[in-house]
Symmetry: C2
């Protein structure tokens, strides 16, 4: 059989990792695909830039469209990133009936519904394992490995930058800025780190995971999103005293009322397996209705790690290419219609436990006002901890952990507490999840 | 298209779980398979036995061969277990050109080479995701998700009975027999528990994992196997003092000298993610050359959990059935020829760190003899801990942790130590692994 020609668009970290791994494990990969794989060419911005792979036999061009439109090319591997050029290239590739493999989480999360409709109409596959959780084969796991299940919820540490920063804040007792600087020095955070630390990257990935898990359209804009920039090391310390770690989690839950989609700092019991995931590593916990709780752990980013997923997709796409069109099982794209009872929950309807830290005047009666404001709304307190005032301070910290409560109700209680008198406006509010993983 | 007819052989825990999950999630499963799935019939030993599923619409027979030979049946799901009847049925099914899905680890581990050769010759698939690690889709992960990688090693907690017993011995400070009894009361151990506690079950599963991971024939008889029956709670306590947990691990490692295959109690650093896996849960850690360290965690046994894997296989088999024979990519069966440099290492050539507990007379000079016997063989000591003699005892425990050493050399050193005088014959010897999972 003829070799399959692939075009790699972009030779950055993931692109050069992909080419490198393809060369290193070429025979094994071709064997698994059932056909010989040939890298027909690669598109880059700068021809003479030094690359992290051996490009001596690689045909380079600065015109990615020339590869996409080339009739010799069977599969387009988009590893440029972003939503402008990458989107134009992918749409053009679909038009030219090429299959696509991408690691572009932003593009899939924000434009995936459109891309998948077009791909389905053209009978081509768009695969995106590398877009979520790096080298962990999580998309394949949800779609195929857990295909017999209905998924109840999933919770993921899916941004290595945030997880590294939080690990350092906890272990080194650093503040956020120091930890961020350390991440940047190690190459774990960009010079403009906002995409990671403000949670957009995690929200993109969560939108994708939730779509595959629940069979709903991509709804990135509805993900409730909070980053880690405002975290104070003192809360990491208090949480630890109370038996919790703070992780930046992506959560997708199916409830009777609808689907929750949220990424935010979250208190997790220290002995929860997910809380043991440190540094830049990622993990996704999935609770499904036949197998129960499961967890998948590995490198969430990096050239070779993401290449591992990109190439696994290539093998699947090539194996699928051999199937006559009328016999193909449609690649499980997203549902284009929202199933009627699966609304995405707005923020005020989210049901969660909370960690609160108030700063209260060291006077009688304040605690009573606080507990009344909560009690009258039936907000149940699990733990309350008041620390004595430090020398020369007139304010004491009061830490409260609530049982699960509707967010709208809690916000109303906090609004009332703020006007009580004697309590600072700034009340630290962090969600808490008692995930059961056994 | 015609529905696909499946026959379920055995309606025990996994069989009734499979039928139950198929009924519960029928539409979703058919959608993913691309064809309607029909349970044509089931074979059982006792027609009137109470089943853990709704059998009102299920055609039952006590003659499993009648289903296997029935031209209407497309796929045979073997959930009987064991190597006698199950083997005869599977060979007959292959002869009749039926595809097979099984959860039978013993059969695959001990007869898989033969079964796969015959299946390949007949052009049928034998799938066995449910045979290893219950509901964790580990076979699919190794074959497909990590298909772009070369696997360096894998380490698994793959027997829930052993893991439950060790967790209880550690947390409740019980001895082995008490912990075993507790496991039996909870249904986590059989009345004859030998298969689990002596390590045969883990060895079966490890042989299968290693074959898929390294592309070698199944070599169950070469797995170095030790169970947990001889573990003393005092060693769990000392290990803990030194920062280690004891788990019953299955280890498969590729080294320059060959492949190590072993299942045995193993000291693991407490902070290793694998050491956080408790109770009946399973986990497999895999280190691969592109993605690096990964870990997969979930229920290793149970009706619905294993059914999850059986049905995922059914979907794959059905999707594969649609492919014309000349276009099929051969289902990656085991290599029938051993790759020339992949010998399975004999016990004395295994390279490992060790935990040793000697019982020595409380006299001068004993330690010198011990350290000399080790030192002259260049066996490096990482830690040595001598506890004071308890009141009225004349022996003291000496605990040693070595750096990695060839087993044959260590055994020679221990033989010399035993004849030194002043040291008990019984020297507790446990292997230790410093697995790096980040």
């Amino acid at each position: 059989m003829e070799p399959v020609n692939i075009a790699i668009l972009g030779l950055g970290t993931v692109g050069s990792g992909t080419y490198r791994v393809l060369q290193r494990n070429h025979n094994e990969i071709s064997r698994r695909a059932g056909r010989d794989l040939k890298v027909y060419g690669a598109a880059v911005q700068h021809l003479n830039k030094k690359r992290d792979c051996d490009i001596s036999h690689l045909k380079l061009t600065t015109d990615p469209f020339s590869l996409v439109e080339d009739p010799e090319v069977d599969i387009v591997v988009e590893l440029i990133g972003g939503c402008t050029l990458a989107k134009a290239l992918i749409l053009k590739a679909i038009e030219y009936k090429k299959h696509i493999v991408t690691a572009n989480k932003a593009l899939i999360a924000e434009h995936g519904n459109e891309i998948f409709s077009l791909a389905e109409a053209q009978g081509v596959t768009v695969a995106f394992e590398g877009a979520v959780a790096g080298g962990i084969p999580i998309i394949k796991t949800i779609r195929e490995g857990l295909g017999a299940n209905r998924i109840n919820w999933l919770a993921g540490i899916i941004n290595g930058t945030c997880n590294y920063i939080l690990t350092q804040m906890r272990d080194q007792k650093w503040n956020f800025n120091t930890a961020l600087q350390s991440a940047q020095e190690k190459g774990y955070a960009e010079s403009d780190p906002s995409f990671d630390i403000e949670g957009m990257d995690a929200a993109h990935k969560l939108a994708i995971l939730a779509s595959i898990a629940f069979g709903i359209p991509l709804q990135y804009s509805k993900v409730i999103r909070e980053g880690i920039c405002n975290l104070d090391p003192i809360d990491i310390y208090y949480a630890s005293q109370l038996g919790y770690d703070i992780k930046h989690l992506g959560l997708a839950k199916r409830t009777d009322a609808g689907v929750e989609l949220r990424v935010h700092p979250t208190l997790l019991p220290k002995n929860c397996l997910l809380a043991q995931v440190n540094g830049v590593m990622n993990a996704v916990a999935i609770h499904a209705n036949a197998v129960g709780p499961t967890l998948y752990y590995g490198a969430g980013a990096g050239g070779d790690a993401t290449a591992s997923s990109v190439i696994a997709d290539l093998v699947d796409v090539i194996r699928n290419m051999n199937i006559p069109a009328h016999m193909k099982v449609p690649y499980l794209a997203f549902q284009t219609k929202l199933l009627e009872n699966l609304v995405i929950m707005p923020k005020e309807d989210i049901f969660s436990a909370y960690y609160l830290r108030l700063s209260a005047k060291d006077e009688p009666g304040i605690l009573a006002k606080v507990t009344q404001a909560l009690g009258k709304r039936h907000i149940s307190i699990k733990t309350i901890m008041q620390q004595p005032a430090e020398f020369s301070h007139d304010k004491v910290p009061v830490i409260i952990i609530t049982h699960p409560v509707k967010e709208g109700l809690l916000r109303a209680a906090l609004d009332e507490i703020r006007v009580c008198g004697g309590i600072d406006n700034n009340i630290v509010t962090l969600r808490l999840e008692n995930l059961i993983l056994d």
